[in-house]
Symmetry: C2
Subunit: 215 residues, 2 copies
Amino acid sequence: SGLVLLIQGLGLTAVILVAVWMGHFQGGFAWQEDPAKEFNYHPVFMVIGMIFLYADAILAYRVFRNINKLYIKVVHGGIQLGALIFAGVGLKAVFDSHNLVEEPIPNLYSLHSWIGLLTVILFGLQWVCGFVAFLFPKVGFAGRTIYMPHHVFWGLAIFGLACCAALTGITEKALFSNGKNGFSYSKLPSEGIVINCLGLSIVCLAAVVFYVVTK
Amino acid sequence: SGLVLLIQGLGLTAVILVAVWMGHFQGGFAWQEDPAKEFNYHPVFMVIGMIFLYADAILAYRVFRNINKLYIKVVHGGIQLGALIFAGVGLKAVFDSHNLVEEPIPNLYSLHSWIGLLTVILFGLQWVCGFVAFLFPKVGFAGRTIYMPHHVFWGLAIFGLACCAALTGITEKALFSNGKNGFSYSKLPSEGIVINCLGLSIVCLAAVVFYVVTK
Ligand code: HEM
Ligand code: HEM
Ligand code: HEM
Ligand code: HEM
Ligand SMILES: O=C1O[C@H]([C@@H](O)CO)C(O)=C1O
């Protein structure tokens, strides 16, 4: 339906905006040979995994309505696994960027990092619970029926948490970059517009996902 | 029920933590005679209005179950009006703190300020729509029934938006204060713990409010 397309559009917009921010304005990407640029993979991979793929996996049940149920389950669970892998690489990138520099930066001090780590841990648990409950033959129909509303509630709650992690992360990176390399946030140059539109696209995406799932 | 008490506890915790942060660690409060300290009213009033009172108003329908319906409506709408007034004073405080200093700070450049302004505008519109639909005798039963699900969806969506505004605002203020007056966020001193716990209390409050309303 139109709303599914809207969600695709907003998710793609977010991925493109975060890639432009990091790739163009923040100097591009590198791996461990240049930890400062390795950081730039963090926002991109987290948005691809915890926002774009996460939203798509939730939608799988709305898009493939009349298809084999097992097939949809594998698509839904498979995309969620992909999301978890992107998140893992994105976390590796930010921890490296703190640990591999001359004067290491402490880990896990910020509100963003607390919300972010909580998000990924709960997401991993939800994946294991979803896999065991819906793909293991041993769990009977009754068990699945009892677990289902919890699976849906936590699936949405963790998605909301992921959006909060992204918004606080965007705000952090915007202020860390402020005053460096000629970027002045309060003058709202094009980089600032990209930053704010990235945040708004995630806010709108979250609103539409909640609407589609709860209606 | 227990969940209602939990929401009260989390809301009060957030109000106390933000008051301790601004009142104790950030030097206390003043009005226009000292615009830097006038800023400190902004976080406190926004959390009281857009988090604590907003959550309480939503709960009014869960707490007063067997009471006169008109009475609950007046309580619900009245608390929401109180929330809007606190938000208005909180916005006045932050705009003053930008405009009344020697070198004025631009307004409305940050992602936080965009999300925040959007929140308050939508909240004001929702208040007018709720008032017209539910307290004006002219709107018949049919109109109310059609509007109700939209009122509930938007009421929750705007609450989610308010929480995102608060979390990005907290992140901004934490980084603006970083390195000033001996505060080093990455060493996680007691001020940093207060900041992160304030954010987590808002995250938990949001999760419980969504659970109570959607279950
Ligand atoms: C949406 C999912 C996201 C999650 C789950 C997440 C998670 C995390 C975690 C766990 C850390 C701590 C790393 C450490 O302590 O070494 C971190 C750090 C960081 N993240 Fe993210 N992140 C996300 C998105 C973003 C985005 C979109 C941005 C920026 C555009 C961002 C910017 C940062 C920055 C600047 C740091 C380093 C400062 C700090 O530790 O707070 N994050 N993130
Ligand atoms: C192998 C792993 C998983 C399986 C087999 C699975 C299975 C399911 C099933 C059967 C539904 C019901 C959809 C419906 O009838 O509307 C569902 C819904 C949902 N799942 Fe999963 N799930 C898995 C993993 C995950 C993970 C890891 C998450 C998120 C962290 C997640 C989030 C959701 C959400 C948000 C919904 C609600 C979708 C809707 O109602 O449209 N699932 N899942
Ligand atoms: C929850 C509801 C909140 C809303 C709706 C909100 C709204 C706003 C708005 C509209 C502005 C722009 C003012 C201007 O441009 O002159 C602003 C600025 C600001 N707010 Fe908030 N705020 C909220 C909560 C918070 C909290 C809890 C904090 C900090 C703990 C905070 C910190 C700031 C800071 C540092 C600024 C100035 C920098 C900027 O313009 O982004 N806000 N807020
Ligand atoms: C004079 C103004 C208002 C009136 C008369 C009013 C009336 C109502 C009514 C009749 C309900 C149905 C509750 C139920 O049956 O569960 C309701 C629910 C709700 N209202 Fe309002 N409302 C007003 C203003 C607002 C405002 C300003 C907001 C938020 C911005 C808001 C947010 C909500 C929410 C989130 C719910 C769902 C509560 C629940 O299901 O527990 N309302 N309101
Ligand atoms: O990943 C990063 O770490 C630093 C910051 O943590 C410094 O405290 C910074 O600017 C990044 O982009």
